[in-house]
Amino acid sequence: MGKRLKMKVKKTIIPILSVALFLTIGLSLTIGKYPLCLADICGYLFFKLTGTGNMDTRHCELVSNLLLNIRLPRILAAALIGASLAVAGASFQAMFVNPLVSPSLLGVLAGASFGAALGMVFSGNWFCVQCLTFLFGFVAVGIAVAIAKMHKGNTILLLILGGVISGAVFTSLLSIIKYIADPANQLPAIVQWLMGGLSLVDYKTLLAAGIPQLVSIALVILFSGYLNALSMGDEEARSLGIRVERIRLFLIFLATMMSALTVVIAGMIGWVGLIIPHITRMLVGPDNKILVPASALIGAIYLIAVDNLSRMLFVVEIPMGIVTSLVGIPFFVIILRKAQKGWA
């Protein structure tokens, strides 16, 4: 890409992507098993807003139910999850000075899935499952951070090792839960949940998870100026007057919040946090001040599109986590080829 063009892209990308996100949301409202064209939706909106128009009450109720209770929450959830994972991934990649890192680095996804399985086996109450999911996401990251804190030395390396350990522990614990789970109904429920999907989304969960996620995304965007310096390594960042330990811990907290909540909403959704920041970096360059917000928007658009695919590709809905992996991996292979030059 030419220099001029790249500068232009940098300046206009955020408004363009915002418009694209709204168009994607609008378009996705029309996609589903029950055929509903854009004219129907416009007619419905017109009817609701002005109170006039030719719509009989039964059709209106059907459209209303379809749009507001079934399609919209799903679309919003997909957007939130995509944005959260992409922002968490982008900030981890900068913080750990490694473009191959994903939000699961410190064990948050392993911990959260263990928490979910634990709740499904021992409580059965859905709210309880969600709380345990969130809680164990944080416990896993806490263990990784504690392991790093116990030793003196290269903090980044120690954190990554701590994450490997913590992730391994919770993966083993998850296996134990699966082993003792009732194979008739509990085990399939756990397995399906871990494949990721949006079929269980409701407004209450969306609100409870969405607000902290949006706040976290906003805070990471506000702190994104520090990410550039952090990605030059600890010593340089510190010599630039940054309190590295404190800011990194805060950013890890935000990323954990976002990632754990994605598991609460939709189970395990892989590859998004790794792929999306990469693709965005190719578009807008590595400057985190633009990269982070652009990743959030592209992540949202991407996951809405993937959810549409998973709903419409086959007669039966396939779990979204499978689609993100199947789409993500070939993308990754292409990126690797391009990225050999220096992750540009």
Binding site: K3, L222, F223, M232, E235, S239, G241, P286, D287, G342
Partner: protein, 286 residues
Amino acid sequence: MGLNPLIKIDAISFGYTQKAVLTDINLSITKGEVVAVLGPNGCGKSTLIKIMLGLLRPDAGRVLLNGKNIRKLDTGYLAQEIAYVPQIHKSSFPYTVLDVVLMGRIPHKTFFFRYSNKDLRIAQNALERLSILHLASRAYTEISGGERQLTLIARALAQGANTFIMDEPAGGLDYGNQLKLLDQIVKLSREGYTFVKATHSPEHALWIANRAVMIKEGKIVADGPCDDVINTENLFHLYNARVNVLKFNDGPFNVCVPQTICGCMDALDHCNLSVLEKSQKVMQCQ
């Protein structure tokens, strides 16, 4: 040297767990000095530099900047006074040269910052002073090692610091780029900037520094003007290498010639020094 020291290193000791890396280091650096820190691998040079930057906490002693303990100073303020120019490195991300220099403005910022037009002007000005403004929009990962090192110096300038602490700034650079870098250091030191640089090359010290500090096994073994301190005896003590330091009457600086490669007299015969000898420029050869 009657001036108040800019940086005073006061009885610093440091040890990784048990093994002592530095013991009882005392050093005063005056404004405008170019201090070369010499010593063999693992002598504690880099540790001393990291302590001066506040990156490592000494086990005993303190570092004073204008009389104030640097560990008690605000990190942002410290970064506005002392800048770090690390050893040549490659970023994992292809930031533009301008982006890298703009990072130097971070110490002047508070939370949630965005760079202003003033920051942009300061960064461009820094690039211009090092004659690398034309690189501004190039990727930092794609420019040469020498250009990368100049970029890091530009960042230090943008930081607004008056003291530059460098860890092997010329390490890994080709000969031409080493000279270019040294040239820039001399230029800036004439403008009043203070430099402390760890180096592996006594010659670089002879060329540009006005003071050499020699460290061996965590202790200062020599400290003084380069022409006095960098001599055959000290270099043998420091590196266990036999080197002659040739002094010229009216030449700009001394040069080192290894004995072990061709021998002292051979060196004079074979290294094109006979011309100089004829004109009686060689004063001393041990």
